[in-house]
Symmetry: C2
Subunit: 303 residues, 2 copies
């Protein structure tokens, strides 16, 4: 195994910074995720094991999930010694300057069998974030703004509380060339058609995923995210690493019990609707609300 | 106005029996629904007024809603004198022996802005019924079983708690010619293709409704039901009053705020999935669970 490092482009989840426990990467395209405590770690391992050997999952759906290479004890990032890690594909290894959005799908992040205290905690978060009103919440975001400015990384506490109109704006900003750090109407959506649109763009991928969710009754994905990743520079060079979606975070996957995952599917349809609007009207800002952020200012990172 | 009567084929909601307040019908095909107390009555009136003049709603969707003829004070069924009533189309007027299913759609029956106590009450019901696991619950049901036996009307407290496999069975029983009052595997699904299937059957109608819900961002329908109605005898005679779906109960419709109704849509997709299975495999019972009802025995009505 090559030397492990802290990933520089992680937008959601626990981070392996300042001696904390978090995921690591190597230079061969693998991502090492420490098993979460309690049931979460074992649920996620169990999901990857079941899913990776589930022959009913077609290849055009499987590509939306990270490849799984088993589990292995490795030196943890918090110095606590050898700890079990999931070994996964590093889904952003091939992007030099990735713009990334991590969106937790579903208006409900709790599973039906969960303990009352857990449900209460999740419900409160779902009600106070955009999950209940919109069917999803943006949990992590970085937008490459160009060489000098680096990345715009608004805080999770801001993005997950976005209103519908703020989501419209940030989804436009995600595919704009503007360097401004403001979330405003002055966005060119220069990359809308090449990122969201087209036969193999984000919208087409999301619709493929939706078709699968209309049928599959095996897995219910609670508190699971869709990553959207692309690279502005690669787009210009027409490189192989095009815009892609990946499902991540399976610590709360439960058996579908012969029912489709209507919670994930409903949230996914809502998310698709927001992206569709931009593909259909790239030059027309449909936002109606005030443009001031309600929950504090977005943070700006330079690297 | 012709003489008003208590409807004989009402499966859900408050009933105008034994001096209680409930809806009435006349012999010209109209349905008189007393305004509910508190905000509910005014919310429902306001929905019908807005919706009936909303020119964005296409005709092929409008047919899934009862026609609205305004409100009017009429003698209430509980003897309390003149009370305001909604005047609606009696959607089952043209069916002599209607089989009816009333399914409340959505895993969540509470709207985001509701008071905490109301949310708590709804959430408890959603969690203990099939709403959370399946995305819908069957709130009323009558199946015409033939001349002698009349109608099979299982109790609401049974139907709304059905498991996935019990829903599979009851949806098969709904389109079977068997006179048995048991919810068991011995069902012939004789009417599956003519009720659920075909270009204008229930499945096709539900899919049309689904397409609309993937786009419309004006109305969010909480605690709203889809009625499915058909008449076994009419089917045999190939009469005009074919299988139909109707949306009913709009006391908790709220403004969509520029977002699709992902809660209704998710539940609708789940319901569609159950019906699709039967259309695809009418002769194959896919139920896997035990066939005993968990929540008491179904009641049998003879009329």
């Amino acid at each position: 195994m090559s030397r492990l490092e802290v990933p520089s482009h992680q937008v959601g989840g626990h981070k392996a910074l300042n001696g904390k426990l978090g995921p690591l990467i190597d230079d061969s395209g693998r991502f090492y995720k420490p098993l979460q405590s309690g049931d979460r770690g074992s649920v996620e391992v169990s999901f990857y094991e079941t899913f990776s050997s589930d022959t009913r999952v077609p290849d055009h759906i499987r590509r939306f999930f990270s490849k799984f290479y088993g589990t292995q004890p490795i030196e943890a990032s918090d110095g606590s010694g050898l700890q079990p890690h999931l070994i996964l594909e590093n889904v952003i290894a091939n992007y030099s300057n990735p713009s990334i959005m991590d969106t937790k799908i579903g208006s409900r992040t709790w599973y039906p069998q969960a303990p009352d205290a857990y449900i209460e905690k999740c419900l409160k978060k779902d009600r106070t974030s955009s999950s209940v009103p919109l069917g999803f919440r943006i949990c992590g975001l970085q937008i490459y703004t160009g060489h000098d400015l680096g990345y715009w990384k608004p805080d999770k506490n801001v993005t997950q509380n976005y209103t519908a109109d703020e989501v419209r704006l940030v989804l436009r900003k995600f595919v704009s060339s503007n360097e401004s750090t403001e979330l405003n109407n002055d966005l060119d959506t220069a990359y809308a058609s090449s990122v969201y649109g087209g036969d193999s763009g984000i919208l087409a991928q999301l619709k493929e995923l939706k078709s699968w969710f209309e049928d599959q009754m095996t897995y219910h994905f609670y508190s699971c995210s869709i990553l959207i990743v692309y690279d502005k520079k690669s787009l210009l060079k027409d490189e192989a690493s095009g815009p892609a979606i990946k499902l991540v975070d399976f610590a709360h996957v439960v058996d579908g019990g012969g029912v489709i995952d209507h919670n994930f599917l409903g949230g996914l349809c809502s998310f698709i609707n927001f992206i569709s609007e931009i593909v259909a009207h790239p030059n027309e800002c449909t936002a109606k609300a005030s443009l001031q952020t309600k929950n504090g200012e977005a943070k700006m990172d330079h690297n």
